[in-house]
Each structure stands twice: as C-alpha cells, then as structure tokens.
C-alpha cells in the first residue's frame, strides 16, 4: 500500500452521488490525515533547507534594495519623466493579479460547489496572502518617503486634512487592504479545524502550545460547525464580489486617467480575467512540484491540474480577446492619439515586450486545447511559467508604452531599468517564496477537513458494512442498518485501509469485494472485468450486483482476499478497547 497510485478510472464512481470520485485511491480519513501531516511531522529537511536558503538569500536582496532605496531615494530606479510609473507599479499589479487565484478558488468555486477546489484551495489561499504582501510592499516603497505612508489613511492629523476620496489611488488603498484582511481571515477560518488536527497529533510541548493556541480550542462540535459553515459560506459570498472589485479598482488607477492606452472601459473586466489567468498559472507553478515532493499526486490529481488548465485556457482567451478589442476600439474611436498609442505599443520602441506578452499570454494557453498537454504535469508546468512571464510583461507593456511617448515628441523618452529595479523584483520573489516555504513546513498544505468531507464515506447516506472488529459486534447488535432481505457481508473494513468495495443502491445493499490483482487480471481491471470477478466473490448477490454494475467502484491496488468475519483481521486500534464501565 506504500505509494501505489492507480491511474485514473472513469468508473471510479461515488456510490451515493454516482459522480467520478475526485480522490481516486479511496483513502480513509486517517490516511488523508497522515498524508497531509507527514511533511510537517517528518520534513525532508535537506530539500527544504536548500529551497529555504535560496529564498532567504533573495529576501536578503530585497532587504538590501529597500534599505538602499530608503537611504538614497527612488532615484536609484529607472523611473523618470515621462515614465514616472515603472517597475514598482508593474510589480504591484503583477503580484496583486497573482493574488487573485486563491480567493477565486476558495470563494467562487465554493459557491459553484466545485468540489475539486478542496485539494488546492489552502495552498492557493496562502499564495494569495503572500502575493498580496509582496504587492503591498511596492506602493509602500514607491512613495519614496515611507514614513509618510499613513497619509492615505483617514487619520486625524495636525494639518486637519483628509485624504481625497475621489482618487482611484485611494480606492486602491481601501480595496487592497480590505482584500488582504478578508483573505487572511478566510484562510485562518479554514485553517482552524486543521490546526486542531495538528494539535491533537503533536508530540512536543512547543507544538502542542503553538497549534493549541492557534486552534482556539476547536473540538469539532457540530453546534460549532453549523455556525462555522454559515460564516464560511458568507465569507465566500462576500469575497466573490470583493475579488472582482479589487482588480477592477486596481485597473481604475489606469482607466480613470486621461492617458491614451490607459483610458479604456474594457480595463476592469480585462484586468480581472488577466488576474485570474496569472493567479491560476502561479498555482500550477507551485502545486506541480509540491504534489510530487509531498507525494500528494493522489490528492492533487491530474484531473485537478486539468481543471485549472481549462480555466487558464478560458481566461487566456478572454485576455486575447481584450487585446484585440483594444486595437479595434483604438481604430474605431477615430482618436489619433488613441490609435497612435496602440500602433506604438505593437510596433514602437517596446515592440519586443508586446510580442513577448502576446506570445506568452495568447499563444501559449492555446496548447491546452490538446488533451495530452493539459493532462501532462510537465507540460503544464512549462506553460505556467510562460504565462507568469507573459503576465508580468502585460503590465509592463501597459505602463511603459503608454507613458514613454507623451503628447509632445519633445517629451518622449525610453525607460530602462537599473540593477536596483531588477534586485527589487527578484527580492520580492524571495519574500514570496520564504513565506510560502514556511507555510508548507508548518501548516497543513491541504484543507483536511474539507477534503475529508468530499470522500464518499463522509456522506451520512453512505452505508458502509460493519467491521468484523470485536468492539463493534459487542455494542452494535440490533441497530445495524442491514435489511433482512439482503444478506450483509461483513468485510474487514479497518481504519487504515478500506479494502471492501461498497455498492449501494436504493433497492438493496450489497458489498462488492475487489479481488486480488492476480485474480482480477491486473491491478486495474476494466469495468467488465470488475463486474465479472465481483460476481465470483459474491455469488449469492449476483442479481443485486448486476443492477449496480454501473456504480461499481474500483479500489486500491492492495491485494485483499475476502475472508469470513470470524477470521478477518480486526480493524481496531489499541485505543478502541477502552473502558466500557
């Protein structure tokens, strides 16, 4: 049972809902807990430290760049008239965009009842928070005099002045800080039950105290869960318009101005699509190596990657449409400045940046139409890197090309970054990866309580057979949910490996036992074969079996032989034989 992961089966169906199971290995609850807790409790320190040292070095570079900036002023960057907004704002918009996928996965997919979100939402939310931290640091240092950062806040001050609420830059302050706060709360609320799991597994005093305090004394009470779920649903319902508003407001920074190239009404939707596009690309960039590193390929399956790839394809195509529409409007408006701005964008001084952007953002995602590519983790990883690069260039193109040719040719210029621009950008990646590596080292990467709740056996209508264990038989007499007309087979369904295959229908309840691989013809028999061998195993239930054949559910590759309950191995853990009196 070590790490065999059977390939995807179309017929791995949920016995109650009849839909394809997301977690194909049919793990038990405790197996999931083990998988998720493993990287925290038995970290592969060597690899982690290598990555962490790398990230920390980049973070050091960020620290040095920011320190030098504060000492010397923003003259160390390449920003200058006419390109007054350059890399810092490009980086800000880039990081905010990346920060959109987390909330989209958590909130929008939650509202749409997309269960596949549960495997990736925790990591994506963490990514969101860290990306927004990186994003917030750029406007903060871009103001130059960081000690006056409090000016945009409506605080009473000695000048008796208030901020100008008609400015999109001020809307930005409110939007991004609200987004950060809400994302953080959403993430933390989701983490509470999983931190409680870590608390209950803790062996050392430090962990017990740390996780214990963070878990707030969570004890899985259903009276709590009712309020918890209501709060979570409402957070999702509020975060959905929030996530759409945040990037719209960020794009207002540009769209509300009077500058050709920025002053377009398409900006808000186009920026939101771009943000989701880049955010999902970053999720893929992070999750594809992580799922291999932490042996979570059965939790974050190819199906999950494929779903994300489809969203990338959709939003990438939306972005491509927006690029085309900008050109159409530039021509259709009849405004010579507007037309010039866009011709200059594609064929002017920054033509190279424009075509990098177009190739990465419009051409690259089209490969996802191919099923082979979107089901290949390696191909998706490479694609996602291109999308990340492309989306950075998109913001660069918007900022730099619109500014560098001002209305008068005498004020034309060309922006070139300095080494400090590059150092700050690289450093921000250091900040991001340092935080992310700390997260994967100390907090559960997968939303455990959520992923457990999408397992078939989590549904109270899923009737599992009773175990052959002693503790059950001594207390369960008379209330077993068996029906008299169908004989209930007792299969040893212990908590460490569910080996019995369970098929439930309205009419009858039957247990289907997966034969050992040699008997069933290989580890993954096709549907017909599963049925045939199932009949062999449960001859007396052949009729009921056939009715349910379409719901047959293949199981894990572990060899398992069906035994009568008397000789079945006991499923009890030592803690189960506790006192009864």
């Amino acid at each position: 049972m070590s790490h065999y992961i059977p390939p995807f089966h179309e017929h791995d169906l949920d016995p109650v809902e009849g839909r394809t199971n997301l977690i194909q290995t049919a793990p038990t609850y405790s197996e999931l807990t083990e998988t998720v807790a493993h990287p925290i409790e038995h970290p592969n320190n060597k690899i982690w430290w290598i990555f962490f040292m790398g990230a920390l070095s980049l973070l050091g570079l960020f620290g040095i760049s920011v320190a030098y900036l504060l000492w010397e002023g923003i003259g160390i960057w390449g920003n200058n008239v006419p390109v007054g907004w350059a890399w810092p704002i490009v980086n800000f918009v880039f990081w905010v965009g990346i920060g959109h996928a987390g909330t989209l996965i958590s909130a929008v997919l939650f509202l749409f009842r997309q269960k596949w979100r549960t495997s990736i939402n925790r990591a994506a939310e963490a990514m969101t928070i860290f990306a927004v931290i990186c994003a917030l640091s750029f406007p903060a240092i871009h103001v130059g005099r960081i000690w006056l950062m409090y000016w945009p806040l409506p605080l009473p001050n000695q000048m008796d002045l208030w901020p100008n609420f008609r400015s999109p830059l001020l809307w930005d302050v409110f939007a991004v800080s609200t987004y950060f706060t809400v994302s953080l709360l959403f993430w933390y609320v989701g983490l509470i039950p999983d931190i409680a799991t870590m608390r209950d597994r803790s062996k050392t005093a430090i962990r017990k105290i740390a996780y214990g305090v963070l878990a707030l004394g969570w004890r899985g009470s259903h009276r709590h869960w009712v309020n918890y779920e209501a709060a979570y649903l409402l957070l999702a319902a509020m975060a959905t318009p929030l996530v759409l508003s945040v990037h719209s407001i960020v794009s207002f920074d540009f769209a509300v101005s009077q500058l050709p190239g920025w002053h377009t009404t398409i900006f808000p939707p186009y920026s939101v699509a771009g943000a989701i596009f880049s955010g999902f690309a970053m999720v893929l960039t992070l999750m594809i190596p992580l799922r291999v590193w932490f042996k979570m390929e059965h939790i974050i399956t190819i199906k999950h990657l494929e779903n994300m790839a489809k969203i990338i394809l959709l939003t990438g195509s939306l972005v491509g449409y927006a690029y085309a529409m900008e050109f159409f409007i530039a021509w259709y408006s009849g405004n010579p400045y507007e037309s010039f701005a866009f011709v200059n964008r594609a064929f002017g001084d920054y033509w190279w940046a424009y075509w990098i952007m177009l190739t990465c953002n419009v051409v690259t995602p089209q490969f996802i139409w191919s099923k082979r590519i979107r089901r290949s983790a390696t191909a998706l990883f490479i694609l996602s890197i291109f999308v990340n690069i492309g989306m950075w260039f998109e913001r660069f193109v918007i900022v730099a090309t619109s500014l560098h040719h001002d209305f008068l040719p005498s004020s034309w210029g060309y922006f070139t970054p300095t080494m400090w621009d590059v150092a700050t950008l690289l450093g921000s990646f250091g900040l991001f990866f340092t935080l992310f590596l700390l997260f994967v080292r100390f907090l559960p990467l997968i939303a455990l309580s959520e992923i457990k709740s999408i397992l078939p056996q989590a549904n109270p209508h899923y009737k599992a057979p009773k175990t052959g264990g002693d503790s059950v038989s001594k207390s369960a007499t008379g209330v077993v949910e068996s029906r008299e007309d169908v004989p209930v087979r007792k299969a040893p369904r212990d908590t460490d490996s569910v080996s019995a295959k369970v098929v439930v229908s309205d009419a009858s309840q039957a247990i289907d036992v997966r034969p050992p691989p040699d008997k069933g013809g290989g580890q993954d028999p096709p549907e017909g074969k599963t049925d045939a061998s199932a009949d062999k195993a449960t001859e007396d239930e052949a009729e009921a079996e056939k009715a349910d054949a379409k719901k047959a559910k293949a199981e894990k590759g572990d060899a398992f032989t069906f035994k009568p309950p008397a000789t079945a191995k006991s499923g009890d853990k030592p803690s189960d034989d506790g006192e009864e009196g």
Binding site: Y29, W162, V182, H222, R223, W225, V226, L448, G578, E580
Partner: protein
Amino acid sequence: MAKRNKAYGLLAEYETTHDLYEACERVRDAGYGAWDAHTPFPVHGLEKAMGLRPSIIPWIVCVMGFSGAALGFLLQYWTSAVDYPLIIAAKPFNSYPAFVPVTFECGILFGCFGAVFGMFGINRLPTLYHSLFNSERFLRCTDDRFFIAIEARDPKYDREKTRELLESTGALAVEEVDE
C-alpha cells in the same frame, strides 16, 4: 477512575457518519438538550438529525455589512463635504459616485468581521480548555472518529440510562468524561 468526583458527561464513539447520523436522531428523539456531536469535518445534514436551528450568523453579517457600508459613506461624506470641503477637479463636495468603491469595500470588510468574529463569539472561541480534552480517545475527533457527548447537566441525564441509550445506538465505546 476512583479519583473522579464530578463527571462532565458521557462520550460515545462512532466509526462512520452513518452510525453517527442515526445515533443523533435517537438522542434527539430521547429529548436531550445539552449534548453535541463532534466530528472531524462538517457532516452535512447532521443539524437535522440533531434538531438544531439554523445559524444566526447571516443576520450578524447583514447588520455588520450594511453598517460598514453606511459608515464608509459617512466617513467620505463628512471628510469631503463637512469637515474640510475642498474643490477638487471642479467636483461637487458630495461627489457620491466617486464614493462607491470605498463604501463597497467598507461594507465587505465589516461584513467579514461580522462573519468571523460573530462565529467566534457564538461558538465561544477561543476556549482553550474543554472537559472533553480529558479523554484520550477524543484525540481522534480531529482525525477519523465521530463522537456524541451528552452532558451531565442535562435534566434528562441519568448515568445508567443515558449510557444504555448510547450503547444501543451502535457506539464503538461509551466513556464517562471528567469535568
């Protein structure tokens, strides 16, 4: 066990959500009030089996969200049109269309505070100590086991009868937990 002087109540352990669901229905029908189910994840529909009323969180969020939006608008109106009116870009002092984004963000922010801190308040979190943490087997509550706890303070609580009821619901084990 001899040292026990006061009991918090009885704790029954179940292996599946199905067993728990049916057991909850039995406990509910027996008329208990001070009891609870403890699960590693939200078991959907269990509130019906337990006879719980819907959460009041939506009302808190509604009130908080709208007050947040109102406060956000008032802040902008008061600072721009009352306390220090300034003519900016020839706009009216109360240029309310420009105040929409901040009003909206304040509404969302306060609504989320209402959801999260309202949930903490109703659930009385943080409660770092709870009697159930005295039980060894309760550690699996956050892993893979399901529990019902009936508290001793319930008027219908009777050490023997309650234990019989819980044992008859298919519990793997029933245990008395210290206060």
